[in-house]
């Protein structure tokens, strides 16, 4: 059976667990613990190892969804789970402090996965801020990484339909990159996170 392994990354409170719950066709495996750091995200629990869900595209294809903890102190889990992943669905909460810088920081962190497969950015909670212009993110990315093409969409992490659109955008990017690599006879990049 062919399978896609997709990572859900982004800061604490961006909606990674909600997104996987919205998408998964199986009961999600969660590793939540009481949240001691309510100043960063005011929610009772936080993911400390991973979330896991699955989607069956057809009888021969499955998408495995892995959510990583948002806090940097769990970055060893980012490395472990990035090893098998083909792409990253990066969720950034638009109402957080410095969301544009955060998005760029995470893109750099998972850049090896961009080279191997792809990254898409989903801006969550965009309705809660006066301005969350997609262009602002796209322009900042273009300034920072001129040769990089990363789609940016606003999404509601709780919406199965919106998250599916974002996921399919990512998978299309991954398959396109793979097809281009196959046609010119080179493999796409490999490896984990980019060295900092």
């Amino acid at each position: 059976m062919a399978e896609h392994v997709i990572l859900f990354a982004g800061p604490m409170g961006a909606g990674k667990t909600s997104a996987i719950r919205a998408l998964s066709e199986i009961d999600v495996v969660s590793t939540e613990a009481a949240n001691s750091d309510r100043t960063v995200a005011d929610k009772p629990t936080t993911t400390v190892a991973l979330d896991y869900g699955e989607i069956g595209i057809n009888e021969a294809e499955k998408v495995r969804l892995y959510g990583v903890p948002g806090q940097r102190r769990f970055d060893f889990m980012w490395t472990i789970l990035a090893e098998r992943a083909e792409g990253v669905l990066l969720l950034v909460n638009a109402d957080a402090d410095n969301p544009v810088e955060t998005a760029i920081e995470y893109v750099k962190e998972f850049f090896a996965l961009y080279e191997r497969g792809g990254i898409v950015i989903g801006l969550t909670r965009a309705d809660l801020v006066p301005r969350a212009l997609i262009e602002e993110y796209a322009n900042a990315l273009a300034d920072e990484m001129p040769d990089v093409m990363i789609p940016v969409l606003t999404v509601d992490a709780r919406s199965q339909e919106e998250m599916m659109t974002l996921l399919m955008t990512l998978i299309a990017n991954i398959e396109l990159k793979q097809a281009v690599a196959d046609s010119i006879g080179v493999g796409v990049g490999s490896g984990g996170r980019r060295a900092r």
Binding site: A33, N35, S36, A49, R73, F74
Partner: protein
């Protein structure tokens, strides 16, 4: 607003007392940490060759994964976690009634049974210490 355990002097002082007792119970203790279940180090003792924050984060993830396995397999509550390696082992137990985990690394001079007994006894003692006014 309730103070998080890793910032609360009650947890820090009583945690130090309990972990000091663990060292007396098990001389082969190499390192021990009392951590919040979401991976903040409250207090640690013994060897300083480890990054206490990283140890606490890894112990938090390990504990949550073990809990998830027990839950998925419908085994009831997970009681403890043991990571046994060639040159030592890590034992983790929850502190009953509090969002805390005790994680202790022992050298291979201690049996796993002995380490587990010492860790459980320490967690129970900490529960008692935290009940006192």
């Amino acid at each position: 607003m309730t103070l998080a355990p890793h910032l609360d002097s009650k947890y820090i002082v009583r945690g130090e007392l309990a972990l000091g007792g663990l060292r007396d119970l098990a001389p082969s203790l190499r390192y021990a940490s009392l951590l919040t279940e979401d991976g903040f180090s409250v207090v640690s003792v013994a060897g300083n060759e480890f990054d206490s924050n990283r140890f606490a984060s890894m112990a938090s993830s390990t504990q949550a994964l073990a809990d998830a396995v027990a839950r998925e397999l419908q085994l009831g509550d997970n009681e403890f976690v043991i990571v046994a390696a060639e040159e030592g082992h890590v034992v983790q137990v929850r502190v009953q009634g509090h969002p805390l985990v005790l994680a202790a690394l022992f050298t291979d001079r201690e049996t796993i049974g002995g380490s587990l007994t010492a860790a459980r006894r320490t967690a129970r003692r900490l529960t008692t210490l935290l009940m006192a006014k």
